[in-house]
Symmetry: C2
Amino acid sequence: MKNKSLQFCALLLCFCLGACASPDDPAQPFNAYRMVDLTHVLHEQMPFWPGTGSFEIERLADYDVGYRMHRFSMWENNGTHIDAPAHFIEGGSSVNEMGLDDLVLPVAVIDAREQAARDPDYRLSVEDILAWEERNGRIQPDSLVVMNTGWHKRFSDSKAYVNQDEQGVLHFPGFSVAAAELLVERDVAGVGIDTLSLDPGNDLSFPVHRIILGAGKFQVENLNNLDTLPAAGAVAVIGVLPVKDASQAQARIFAFME
Amino acid sequence: MKNKSLQFCALLLCFCLGACASPDDPAQPFNAYRMVDLTHVLHEQMPFWPGTGSFEIERLADYDVGYRMHRFSMWENNGTHIDAPAHFIEGGSSVNEMGLDDLVLPVAVIDAREQAARDPDYRLSVEDILAWEERNGRIQPDSLVVMNTGWHKRFSDSKAYVNQDEQGVLHFPGFSVAAAELLVERDVAGVGIDTLSLDPGNDLSFPVHRIILGAGKFQVENLNNLDTLPAAGAVAVIGVLPVKDASQAQARIFAFME
């Protein structure tokens, strides 16, 4: 997590160049950009990590006293959320210490839907990343790289999303150790996925967490709507709750793209 | 809260025109934009409405088991947050029903710091709004209008921020009823302030809430860093937590400006 103000400005420039492409057509930019919500709605029936707790909402007051009021109780990993280095790394930075430069950044989307459909334990490989780079150019430093496993479409069905077998083993795709190491080598700012964890469900030793967070990068888990993103060219705005000393926290995440 | 995709695109166009103003100077856009965080950090010692509850964070696991994990408990009005119509209006929309168009919008900032410094019970007047329009043009439909009372600088001192007298009456500035009615007439999308409430602290009948939320608009309370915004020209991105059926919810809010 380092200063990326120049890069942020460059992103705005990309937006701008797109909109200025047809300067004689003032209507052009009105159809030029899309905004997509990458966030799952928070509610009590949504999937959560087995053995931890779910999101809870309690009604404390209602219209008979003049207004409606609730209290939320949530584990810091409920729903679409950020993992800061402090989640696994003693002395690592907390979510409220993420710089603004880390919260607006380009998104590279690696499509692993076919692999994950064939094998729920699929681990994104170095070859998958190199194939993406072959088509889209080298992954940018200080960007967010996300794996689209297709799992976000299962979020409305907790059983299918968590996918726990009779022995208690979770089966959802994730990153391989070698892929995580390559992304650190590329000096990305963060790594994301549309499952419960960057590590595949069947590896509870969390090696990918240790590599990504250990390198001072952040993680995004339980992303939504990755199907709507281009492989390259979108910009994410990460509205993570700035909770003091939290190791993870819920985020509202938007993507903007042509 | 209605469809404002055209307006959103127009905002991007504004960004773009700014960045394209010097097409022969590729470095120009690199210094053209600022990003400001309008959000207070969430922590247990921050101010909250007397008689309600504070934000709480509980440590559930630590590095001896391999990772750190917390649970948050918060009233839906703790910290920088959105009020949806459902907060006061039966049948009104909830925070998760806000359209994306309501979450990216231009910000008009009305500076009432001098008035609030003289009178902590100050109510923003119609004349204050008309004076803003005299200098900046008519308030745009579907925009966010915020009152800068200077109170955001007191947030680190709960006693000064809540400002409760010996009789239990709260003293912080807010909007007058007539000002709220004018903003509804202007058809803004939302109204914000850097205090605990759009209503001044000494009016617990909440007439401004009833007018703004009753008109289907949203509110933003406990905003931060309003001093850093221009009177006009900034764009807010409101990352409100999409909590199902919540009448209010915490938000991470950024502003972008030249």
